[in-house]
Amino acid sequence: MKPLNISIDGKERQVLAQVVEGQIWFRLDGEVYNYSLLDLKQSGHKKSKSGAKSPDKITAPMPGKVTKLFVSDGQEVKKGDSLLVMEAMKMEYTLKADANGTVEKITAKTGDQVTLGQLLVQLKLTEKA
């Protein structure tokens, strides 16, 4: 791929760039960055999908399998408590509560194959985040 010559911050720069599945990927000064085109259109700094972090919604940060559930409906949880374990690419990843609250609903069960951004646990927060 040939680099594009683009004026950035007042300087002519060589940039490799490509849109892949809704994200603009580019390489600048030896580093690779990506940004969602949808988020670019929106003002403000919120990211969509996995980036949209709302502490009462525990979503899958990656596609994978739910291997362990530590909580049940109605259970009280504290910030930092482990809620469940996901596995992807032979690696385990523990999802934790970001705030105090109770478990309102669990929308996944052990063994489920889940997609990126899928809601797994709905919390009811004790205090406003």
Binding site: M1, V20, V32, L40, A88, M89
Partner: protein, 496 residues
């Protein structure tokens, strides 16, 4: 032994490509045994024949012995190369191959059993007087006995539940004064957690280096070694950066460890390629285990020794061993390998899956890339996240480090995030540069991963300017003829 004409490859990814290359250079036919989702991989495109052995989950495909053997036979292969991981260290698989008239390119099933099994390996090493990590696994569980044994081993000592695993019931005893309390508490925990109070003792190696020797058995009972590698940079026991030779060995240690490696392999009647792993601390070395297969990090040995281990594996399997002792007497220069994983370095290394976009591994003197995917292939969550290995060689270790940093900075992967920025920070760390890193290097300095230095606002600003430019370029009429529907894939390329 009979000559090999057609090799079935019971593996995927970059090692499948590596084996295909070796076979092609030897004029052999290749048969790729793959899962249904792996048709979009480089190995699939390169193999002469390909047979689907089952669906994506490994238990139904890459770990299914019968499916692999049936497919290899159906394709007319006369041998199987298992690569590494999957069935490569499965003695039953090696046995089934031979029973079905397929040459298993690797050690005998018997050697896999004796050397690959921890208990039988330890027994054999102990009998031969080879150095193991000092410990106590006796039946006498009286506190006084355990105390005496702990003192004999020398503090610090780890006490762990015999029935345990994953660190539960494991305690570190730093000196004699706390020993009794900690042993008793470990016994209580072991009893409540596993229903058995039996505990083991083991010398705690908190500053150990991981050193391993590449061994090769010629098939007549003779084993030689092709020097050492150091793989101390590990995250949760997964190696990330490997090098040959180790910066930590004196000539004396190197000679002694090499002898121990050859001794244990000879005792196990080892043939073909294998690796003997050690821990090294304070000038003392301890045998850890034997990996009865080719290693992921075999390329660094190939670079400093000037050999092709995979070709040699195939030739040895058909009875044409061709290493001459004088050819493998001295390693030359220094080689480093980095494993490129599909993960987000700025989010604690969580896996990154998806379609790969543009991919570039720019060539240069003594840069080597081993990769299994190309542009438009998809990284799935079914398998290991390693997407490539980058290997460099240079005359000295400091130069090899500089070359690796340069090479990684030149590489581009779009579509999935990679650990490349993480690797660069590790290589640039003063402890890595000094060569003094131990197996605790990552947990000490990189436990939390790394931070993105550029702010989200800045990236968004750049992304805005660049995406606008890309869109405009695409729409420019002089950008040439375009056929087919507009997609992100055909988007901006055609015009450039």
């Amino acid at each position: 032994m009979r000559p090999i004409k057609s090799v079935a490859i019971a593996n995927r990814g970059e090692v499948a490509v590596r084996i295909i290359r070796a076979c092609e250079e030897l004029g052999l036919e290749t048969v790729l045994l793959h899962s249904d989702v792996d048709i979009n991989t480089r190995a699939y495109r390169l193999a002469k024949k390909k047979i689907c052995i089952g669906p994506a989950p490994t238990a139904q495909s890459y770990l299914n012995i019968q499916a692999n053997i049936d497919a290899a036979l159906a394709a007319g292969a006369d041998s199987i190369h298992p690569g590494f991981g999957f069935l490569s260290e499965n003695a039953d698989f090696a046995e089934q191959c031979e029973k079905n008239g397929l040459t298993f390119i690797g050690p005998s099933a018997q050697a896999i059993r004796t050397l690959g099994d921890k208990v039988s390996f330890k027994t054999m090493a102990k009998k031969a007087g080879l150095p193991l990590i000092p410990g106590y696994e006796g039946a006498d569980q009286k506190v006084e006995t355990l105390l005496a044994e702990a003192q004999k081993i020398g503090f610090p000592v780890i006490v762990k539940a015999a029935a345990g695993g994953g660190g539960r019931g494991m305690k570190l005893i730093n000196d004699k004064s706390q020993a009794k309390d900690l042993i008793e508490s470990a016994q209580r925990e072991a009893l409540s957690a596993f229903g058995s109070a039996t505990v083991f003792l083991e010398k705690y190696l908190g500053r150990a280096k991981h050193i391993e020797f590449q061994i090769f058995g010629d098939g007549t009972g003779k084993v030689m070694h092709l020097f050492d590698r150091e793989c101390s940079v590990q995250r949760r026991h997964q190696k990330i950066i490997e090098e040959a030779t180790s910066p930590s060995l004196t000539e004396d240690l190197r000679r002694k460890m090499g002898e121990v490696a050859c001794t244990i392999a000879t005792l196990g009647k080892y043939k073909n390629a294998g690796t003997v792993e050690f821990l090294l601390q304070d000038g003392e070395f301890y045998l850890l285990e034997v990996n009865t297969r080719l290693q992921v990090e075999h390329p660094v040995t190939e670079e400093v020794m000037g050999v092709d281990l995979v070709k040699m594996q195939i030739l040895t399997a058909q009875g044409n061993f061709v290493f001459h002792p004088q050819d493998i007497r001295v390693p030359r220069g220094h080689s480093i390998e980095c494993r490129v994983y599909a993960e987000d370095p700025y989010q604690g290394g969580i896996p990154s899956t998806g379609k790969i976009g543009y991919l570039a591994w720019p060539e240069g003197p003594r840069r080597r890339y081993e990769y299994g995917f190309e542009s438009e292939d998809t990284i799935t969550s079914y398998y290991d996240p390693m997407i490539a290995k980058v290997i460099v060689w240079d005359e000295t270790r400091p130069r090899a480090i500089e070359k690796m940093i340069r090479t990684l900075k030149d590489s581009t992967v779009f579509g999935v995030r990679t650990n490349i920025p993480y690797l660069i920070e590790i290589l640039d760390h003063e402890e890595f540069r000094s060569g003094k890193m131990t197996t605790r290097f990552i947990e000490t300095y990189f436990a939390e991963g790394i931070k993105q230095k550029t702010s989200d606002d800045q990236i968004k600003k750049w992304a805005g300017v660049i995406s606008k430019h890309v869109t405009e370029t695409r729409q420019a009429p002089e950008m040439g003829h375009r056929s087919g529907p507009l997609s992100p894939w055909s988007s901006y390329w055609r015009g450039v």
